[in-house]
């Protein structure tokens, strides 16, 4: 069955995903478990469709983790990151240190040398960013206290991989005297995070360090100053695929650069994401990268499933399962104690501990690195690789246990208001289209302390608003995915102020379907357009020229010598009358297509309006202030 055809491979992977994930979802197991099981099924121990190339696929698929961290970075403004510094350094640092030492202690009990025990401890202290974030996202728990804490710990772990790679070689079992430990450590750094890393000319340590700092600095500077004009240039082409291409180019470029200097690509893209977090093209980037991330992560989980060495499991089932359980319990214990230390509520602390009680994807990389460098013997490392993979499978199950059995006990507590530290998408108002019309709406809202998210697809316009410190994002409001990225799930209102009537209707239809809770306020270009909107049940429809034309009428009346207050009241009466007529006609006039029919219909409408004698409107405006009847009464 080992056809080497790329398409056959792709077919098998996709088929496995498409079959197993929906079933797993339906059973309430979550997509991660679905992917893992799909991997097991197509792997060498069940169907054997995919075999030895599993680890190559895994390396390719790790790119999904890279993309995920890029997206996470995009949602984290530097200021938010700064606010999370205590949980990241405190909670994350303590978790890695305590877990490493704890597992090392267990290793000593099992009779490992202290070097091996410490190496195993460090490697197993990491958790799986991919599985945890994916699972939390799916369950909508990222904004909870537990979610935030888990994220902080994962972030610290991803950073901690780099010093680990430097430290591990120092623990080498039989160090040849020719190799000074420092060189080995530097080599470890160069190796970092990917075995495919280019072993560039072996540089001395200080040059290496400079190179690293230069690269990260370069990413930050480029993200801050270079990307905006570049994106604007691309946005002006008005070709969506160009934007997708440039988004991918950005992520892949950073990955390559990081590999060259020997840093973790995931960390590099994370930094880039944070730098771009307040860039106006953020939402567009998010929506373009999202599907790639999802598929690659899926592929990653499948390859983890496929790589589980069941031979080992069958040879030493008790040992392996015992280790899996031991690992989970040890990590859970440390996490839970830390959650108490950092004053998490009991329910949140439990969720946090359940979420992170597994080995991480970096463990695979680090184990192979450690065996190659004679730090660990294969006899120690190989079973542990299986243990890590199985502990990953265990996580979604633990989360289900937590959700079904543990959390319900805390239901009676009043729901806490959700912290929103990871995201600022949660503005209650989204304004689509920020030209002459939308700007006035937005300014009024801002002046009254409302926070708004603005979408516009005119790059020049955005640039201008940016200069005045507005939060504006690039994108086309009729796209559901973009509205989603702009936070339509949490928003209360959507103001559609774009000047394209057709697109407005399109947007209304999409929003009605996907975000039924959103209240829509729409700008109508003329009467006919207003009818269309009213028929679609839009809550608030404003004709774009009606108000100002009416004001002009008031001024004209005043210029003719009518007293202001009377002119003003006359206009109000006229407005009410006209609004009423608009509502009535909306449900009467036929839905006519074609420009000619449309204009004919417009003419008919106008005639009808004119025929209903507007003059009778003035009759009862201010009868009460008219004293003629009083004089008669005397």
């Amino acid at each position: 069955m080992h056809s080497e055809g790329f398409f056959f491979q792709a077919f098998v992977y996709l088929m496995a995903a498409v079959l197993s994930v929906p079933i797993a979802q339906r059973l309430g197991l979550g997509s991660v478990l679905g992917y893992l099981l799909a991997g097991v099924i197509i792997g060498p121990f069940v169907l054997g469709f995919v075999g030895q190339e599993g680890s190559d696929v895994m390396h390719f698929a790790e790119f999904g983790v890279v993309m995920m961290l890029f997206l996470v970075g995009l949602e984290l403004q530097p200021s938010l990151l700064w606010r999370l510094r205590v949980p990241i350094l405190g909670l994350g640092g303590l978790q890695v240190a305590v877990t490493s030492l704890g597992i090392a202690g267990l290793g000593l009990l099992f009779g490992l040398s202290w070097q091996m025990a410490l190496a195993v401890g460090m490697i197993l202290s990491l958790s799986s960013t991919a599985i945890v974030l994916q699972t939390l996202n799916e369950k909508g728990l990222t904004k909870t206290e537990a979610g935030q804490s888990a994220f902080s710990v994962l972030l610290f772990q991803d950073i901690a991989v780099i010093p680990m790679l430097a430290l591990l070689p120092l623990l080498e079992i039989a160090r040849s005297s020719a190799n000074s430990s420092v060189t080995v450590a530097a080599n470890g750094l160069v190796f970092a995070a990917a075995e495919t890393a280019e072993q560039g000319a072996a540089l001395p340590g200080w040059q290496q360090a400079l190179l690293v700092m230069g690269t990260v600095g370069g990413i930050i500077v480029a993200g801050r100053f270079l990307m905006r004009p570049v994106f604007r240039f691309i946005a002006n082409t008005r070709l969506r695929e160009m934007f997708t291409a440039s988004a991918l180019l950005l992520v892949i470029g950073i990955t390559l650069a990081m590999q060259l200097v020997g840093l973790s690509p995931a960390l590099g893209t994370f930094v880039a994401g944070v730098v771009l977090a307040d860039n106006e093209y953020r939402h567009e980037l998010e929506t373009d990268i999202e599907p790639f991330k999802g598929l690659l992560l899926g592929l990653f989980f499948i390859s983890v499933g496929a790589s589980i060495d069941f031979n080992l499991l069958f040879q030493q089932p008790l040992l392996i399962l015992g280790l899996v359980l031991g690992l989970a319990i040890a990590k859970f214990g440390v996490l839970f104690v830390l959650s108490k230390l950092f004053r998490l509520e009991l329910s949140q602390g439990l969720m946090f501990a359940f979420a992170l009680a597994q080995g991480g994807e970096f463990a695979f990389v680090l184990f192979s690195f450690a065996t190659q460098n004679n730090i660990l013997t294969p006899a120690v490392a190989n079973p542990l690789v299986v243990v890590v993979a199985l502990s990953m499978v265990l996580t979604p199950l633990l989360m289900i246990i937590n959700e079904k059995l543990v959390q319900p006990r805390f239901r009676d507590l009043t729901p806490r208001p959700e912290a929103d530290e990871i995201d600022d998408n949660e503005n209650p108002v989204i304004i689509a289209g920020f030209g002459r019309f939308g700007q006035i709406v937005g300014r009024l809202l801002l002046a009254n302390g409302c926070t708004i998210t603005v979408l516009d697809h005119n790059a020049t316009q955005i640039e201008m608003l940016r200069r005045f410190d507005w939060k504006v994002f690039y994108g086309d409001a009729s796209r559901t995915d973009l509205l989603h990225a702009a936070g339509a799930e949490q928003a209360k209102l959507l103001v559609i102020a774009i000047d394209d009537p057709e697109k407005t209707l399109e947007t209304v239809d999409r929003v009605r379907k996907h975000f039924p809770h959103l209240k829509i306020l729409a700008r109508a270009s003329d009467r006919r357009h207003a009818y269309e909107l009213i028929r679609r049940g839009v809550e608030v429809v404003q004709r774009e020229t009606f108000g100002s034309a009416l004001e002009m009428g008031v001024e004209a009346l005043k210029a003719l010598g009518v007293r202001s207050y009377r002119a003003h009241r006359a206009a109000n009466t006229f407005r009410e009358h006209d609004e009423q007529a608009l509502q009535d006609m909306a449900h009467f006039t036929g839905d006519e297509k074609g420009l000619l029919a449309r204009s004919r219909q417009m003419a008919r409408d106008l005639e009808q309006l004119l025929r209903s004698d507007d003059r009778e409107l003035t009759q009862d405006i201010d009868r009460a202030w008219d004293t003629t009847t009083l004089r008669k009464d005397r």
Binding site: R569, E576, T629
Partner: protein, 211 residues
Amino acid sequence: MGKPNQILILFAHPALEKSRVNRCLIQAVKGLDSVTIHDLYEVYPNFHIDVKFEQNLLLEHDIIVFHHPFYWYSSPALLKEWQDLVLEHGFAYGHEGIALRGKKFLTAITTGGGEQAYSQKGYNRFTIRQLLVPFEQTANLCGMEYLPPFVVQGTHKLREQNQIFKHAEDYHSVITALRDNRVDWEQLRQLKHFNQHLAQAIPTSEVTHHA
């Protein structure tokens, strides 16, 4: 217990979001059967009052309540505009103006100053009843019976939430008693303010008094 009286509360407050007391009072009578709360500033933010609609509303109710803060010894501007426009000659007064005849009229106001301020010796120099004379006479001219006003005084000094609650409960008792005809009219007419001795005006009431 005959048919319940239909009560129309014409509520006027230009900045309800800033008023603790009025928010609490309105909350206490919200959603009651046979009680319509008509929030004028919410319905007519541009002062463009729909006279026909308002007159019809009056016709549908038996007891009319003006509920508002006491601004400059009178009502907020919109309620004055409402009076000027809705109480038309030929509708509310005059030979043919008999639409409101026989209805009852109640003022429910909140004042910043306390009881001492509204006396001959106080800095307002007149009592609340004296200052409310324009409303009393308006009711009279329209042929409505003017009831002693429901007055919450010294709102600036109401610090405690439960003091405010007590007034809100009283308001609830008054409105429901008026609706269900549980008022001792004779006793009530003796009173200066409706909520001066509630137990006297509403004998059968379960007026709760906090210690």
